[in-house]
């Protein structure tokens, strides 16, 4: 596929950020989803949650201002905003599992057309398995958004009829944002809502293993500045 018919990671983060409502309590997964925080404008007040017991998590501190105990889920130094709070782990996961977070944005290895998510293991037995809080977030957040590349680096589709990697959770994904399209998970599989300008439906289907359907009013995604 032509490289100009693809959104940058920053473009995808910007698109996801538009989906975050004012006043929302949000947990951003480790990796690419953390970019979404940088793309929210000043017009919205959003409270970020971290699984290690933080609400009102702020951006990285200035160099030299790091507190080794005040870290995010990826163990990177962060700050606390005015109004923020600390609490213990069991309460942090009560918020996640118990439906108290309005939305989460997660990365993915694979997503199935029924909303199954695989984002913690590839089945490679040469590395110890590690799951962290991925399963709790996936089952518990009110809206589960996935942010991922449409295919692997090797060009293999990530949107499949069924996941082949071990599941994180079954039937939980609401919407997927990729570098090619925005797709809802519906009772009838993936429904394309938006796709990159210039891309054909055949192009998109060709990069997707699951069968796609298309909304009546598919809108165009326009790549921003190149990175």
């Amino acid at each position: 596929m032509r490289p100009d018919l693809r959104l940058s990671v920053r473009d995808v983060a910007r698109r996801v950020a538009r989906e975050v409502p004012d006043g929302a309590y949000v947990n951003l997964g480790i990796g690419l989803p953390t970019l979404v925080a940088d793309c929210l404008g000043d017009d919205r007040e959003v409270v970020f949650h971290s699984e290690n017991g933080i609400l009102g998590m702020g951006p990285a501190p200035a160099p030299g201002e790091e507190d080794p105990e005040l870290v995010n889920a990826g163990k990177q130094p962060v700050t606390l905003l005015p109004g923020g709070a600390f609490f213990h782990h069991t309460d942090a996961f009560l918020m996640m599992r118990g439906g108290h977070l309005d939305l989460t944005v997660l990365g993915a290895f694979q997503v199935s057309e029924t909303g199954d998510l695989a984002n913690w293991a590839t089945g490679d037995a040469s590395h110890p398995p590690a799951v962290g809080g991925a399963m709790d977030l996936a089952v518990g957040a009110r809206r589960v958004l996935v942010m991922t590349t449409h295919t692997t680096r090797g060009g293999e589709p990530k949107l499949l009829p069924r996941c082949t990697y071990p599941l994180t959770a079954a039937g939980v994904v609401d919407r997927v944002y990729t570098d090619l399209a925005v797709l809802d998970v519906t009772g009838e599989g993936f429904l394309v809502r938006e796709m990159v300008a210039g891309l054909t439906r055949d192009d998109l289907q060709g990069a997707t293993a699951a069968r796609l359907s298309f909304a009546d009013d598919v809108t165009e995604l326009v790549p921003g500045e190149r990175e």
Binding site: N52, G53, E69, L70, T90, M135, D136, P166, A169
Partner: protein
């Protein structure tokens, strides 16, 4: 007269037996009771089951226990991180058993033990390989997995300040598993930066009441 303060970290880990299940607080490097874990190492304790979120990194704390072959089993959610060299080496050699538990389930299993409960049903992990062999029940139309309580013989935790009754306050996100772990173990040992007089901690803001704590030791600010 209640006085849970002990003079040294060696006193703090006195009586911990080989084969014990040890709950170790911390999330990454945040809130890890490094001095207590090293006291356990110096004591020579071995054949341990360690319950902790990460499996240590570099050469300190849980990584040092693994390096010195003191750990029989690790119960944790995320053993793989930059620098988790000793866990990976021992795991690859088949020298340490790993029980992988989703992070919220890990914490809630300890809470269940603390609360005197026989376990709980959670949607976390349903339809995944981490639920294999476990009882599943449909509750409110959703599949839930039965999880058992997880009790410690010992909890090793880090806090900021304690009084002689063992009341605790923590610092920022270093709190993490501490309040749950001290309540879930038969013997709870806490290292703190500072001792304060009884009555000095604001009762409205005490995070862990001393009933859950058996020993506190001052190790000074990191």
């Amino acid at each position: 007269m209640i006085d849970k303060r002990v003079a040294t970290v060696a006193d703090a880990v006195e009586g911990i037996e080989d084969g014990a299940t040890v709950l170790v607080g911390g999330f990454g490097a945040s809130g890890v009771p490094v001095q207590l874990v090293h006291a356990l190492l110096d004591r020579g304790s071995t054949d341990l089951t360690v319950v902790t979120n990460n499996a240590g990194s570099g050469e300190t704390d849980v990584a040092a226990l693994l390096r010195e072959r003191r750990v029989r089993k690790i119960v944790c959610s995320y053993p793989r991180s930059a620098g988790s060299v000793w866990f990976e080496e021992r795991w690859r050699a088949g020298e340490v058993e790993l029980e992988l538990v989703p992070q919220g389930t890990l914490s809630e299993r300890m809470r269940a033990a603390a609360a005197g409960l026989g376990g709980f049903f959670t949607p976390t992990g349903a339809d995944t390989r981490l639920a294999e062999g476990k009882e599943v029940r449909v509750i409110d139309g959703r599949r839930h997995v039965f999880e058992e309580p997880l009790r410690g013989d010992v909890a090793l935790v880090k806090a900021a300040r304690a009084d002689r009754w063992g009341n605790l306050v923590y610092r920022t996100a270093a709190r993490n598993f501490g309040p749950t772990m001290v309540a879930a173990a038969a013997l709870s040992v806490v290292e703190v930066d500072e001792f304060v007089e009884l009555g000095e901690l604001d009762p409205e803001t005490i995070v862990t009441p001393g009933i859950f704590v058996d020993r506190v030791v001052r190790v000074g600010a990191a």
